[in-house]
């Protein structure tokens, strides 16, 4: 689209939306939110960038070939972190310390899993939107 007001406002507001989405993902174990809500917010900002400026203006890591590799890599990493217990009952991976509840870096594996789910959900929603648009 070639509207001047739209281009200026989207250029100003996209970092604010992405920063809010990263905040909802990172503090998912203290306040309501988590991986799914934060991933949807970041996907909404990517779709807004695609509609306003065209297909080649989104970062190359979210286009089709690289996005599929990103989703596959994060899903395999998730399964390695939490699927080890099928190999025996004495296996225990060394997990990050639990710490004081209320800090940002506390709670063992919950923070890395939130980040992986956020990356997966936002990339999947953006790839599905790319297949439906005709530009």
């Amino acid at each position: 689209m070639d509207d001047l007001i739209l281009k200026k406002i989207v250029k100003f507001i996209t970092p604010c939306i992405q920063l809010f989405g990263i905040y909802v993902i990172m503090y998912g174990h203290i306040t309501p939110g988590g991986g799914f809500s934060g991933g949807t917010i970041i996907a909404a900002s990517l779709i807004l960038q695609h509609i306003t400026f065209g297909k080649n203006n989104v970062h190359f890591i979210f286009r089709k070939e690289m996005a599929l590799k990103l989703i596959g890599f994060s899903l395999i990493l998730y399964s390695t972190i939490k699927g080890y217990s099928f190999f025996g009952s004495q296996f225990h991976l060394p997990h990050p310390p639990i710490g004081v509840p209320g800090n940002l870096f506390s709670g063992g594996f919950i923070l890395p899993l939130n980040i992986l789910i956020g990356v997966t959900v936002s990339s999947t929603f953006y790839v599905i939107f790319t297949l439906f648009s005709n530009e």
Partner: protein
């Protein structure tokens, strides 16, 4: 009157009926997909209202832990997150199939598609192949 006291469950059943009527009465394919989405949402409303206990607050520990009798049941909220994601995937796949139907037949009206498809061995059908 249990139906007026359980108003969340009654409203979810009425939403289910509205979605079912939208699915059956319209000829446009996109409106049928919207009706199916409304039916999905009504089932989520029914399931998530099963975890409420009167007088207690949301299951987020704010300052101090206040005992086991101050929070509602957290399990139905955790089960609905999976259901919502599955409903989104099904809707995306249905819309992709609708695009392919539009490219083959040229219309989104279900009765015209059934007239155009005709019998399997009809020589007067409008498809480019037999």
């Amino acid at each position: 009157m249990t139906l007026l006291h359980n108003y969340y469950e009654s409203a979810s059943i009425i939403l289910f009926g509205i979605g079912l009527a939208t699915l059956m009465l319209n000829k446009n394919l996109i409106k049928k997909i919207i009706g199916m989405n409304v039916m999905d949402t009504s089932v989520f409303l029914f399931l998530v209202s099963k975890g409420y206990i009167a007088g207690r607050s949301a299951p987020i520990i704010t300052e101090n832990y206040e005992g086991v009798n101050a929070y509602i049941n957290p399990i139905p909220s955790a089960l609905i997150l999976t259901g919502i994601v599955v409903a989104v995937s099904v809707t995306a796949f249905l819309l992709a199939l609708t695009i392919k139907l539009y490219e083959t037949y040229g219309t989104v009206d279900l009765e015209e598609i059934m007239k155009m498809k005709g019998d399997d061995h009809d020589v007067n059908s409008k498809l480019p192949f037999s």
